[in-house]
C-alpha cells in the first residue's frame, strides 16, 4: 500500500514538473515549484514511514521550511516588479 502511494505521488510529481517547464507565466512556474516541493516532502514522509527511518522526517521538515521561504521571497520579488519576467 505504501509502495503504491509512493508510485502514484511520484507520477503526479512528474506531471507537475512538466507544468514547471511549460508554464506560460512565471507564476505558473512558481506554483508548480511549490506543488512539486510539497509532493517531495510527502514522498519523503511515506518513505520514512515505510523504511522506519526517522532521519528522513527531519530532512523533510527542513526542506519544507526552506522551500516555503523560497516561494514567498520569489513571489515578493515578482510583486515589486523589479525582476524581468
Amino acid at each position: 500500500m505504501l509502495a503504491a502511494s509512493e508510485v502514484l505521488l511520484a507520477a503526479t510529481l512528474a506531471v507537475v514538473l512538466f507544468r514547471l517547464l511549460a508554464g506560460p507565466t512565471t507564476w505558473d512556474r512558481l506554483m508548480a515549484y511549490n506543488s512539486a516541493s510539497n509532493r517531495g516532502i510527502v514522498i519523503m514522509a511515506v518513505l520514512a514511514a515505510s523504511l522506519e527511518e526517522p532521519l528522513l522526517l527531519d530532512v523533510a521538515i527542513v526542506y519544507g521550511m526552506l522551500s516555503f521561504l523560497g516561494v514567498v521571497v520569489l513571489s515578493r520579488f515578482l510583486e515589486r516588479g523589479e525582476v524581468h519576467r
Partner: protein, 94 residues
C-alpha cells in the same frame, strides 16, 4: 485498514488536483486547484501515515510535518496569487 482508506483518498485528491493543474485555462483556476487539492490530499496522506501501524516514535515528526504543511501551503498560494494580481495579471480589458 483505516490508514489505507485515508492514504487512498489522499492520493485520489492529489491526482484530481494534478489533473486540474494541467487542464485549467486560467492562472487563478490553476492556483485554486493546486492549493486546495494539495492541502487536502497531502494532509490526508500524512494523517493516514500517522494512523498507520499504531502509535510509534515517528508520529511526532509526522504531526510536525502536517502542521508545517497546513500552515505554509495556503500562505504560499496566497502570496503567489497576490503577486500576480498586483502585477496586473488577468486584469486586462476583456
Amino acid at each position: 485498514m483505516s490508514s489505507e482508506i485515508l492514504i487512498g483518498i489522499g492520493c485520489a485528491f492529489v491526482i484530481i488536483g494534478t489533473v486540474g493543474m494541467m487542464r485549467f485555462r486560467d492562472l487563478y483556476s490553476r492556483l485554486q486547484a493546486s492549493g486546495v487539492a494539495d492541502n487536502a490530499g497531502l494532509g490526508l496522506v500524512l494523517i493516514g501515515l500517522i494512523v498507520h501501524g499504531g502509535w510509534s516514535s515517528l508520529d511526532w515528526g509526522l504531526l510536525a510535518l502536517l502542521a508545517l504543511l497546513l500552515l505554509t501551503n495556503p500562505i504560499a498560494t496566497h502570496s503567489i496569487a497576490k503577486s500576480a494580481f498586483t502585477q496586473g495579471h488577468g486584469r486586462e480589458a476583456k
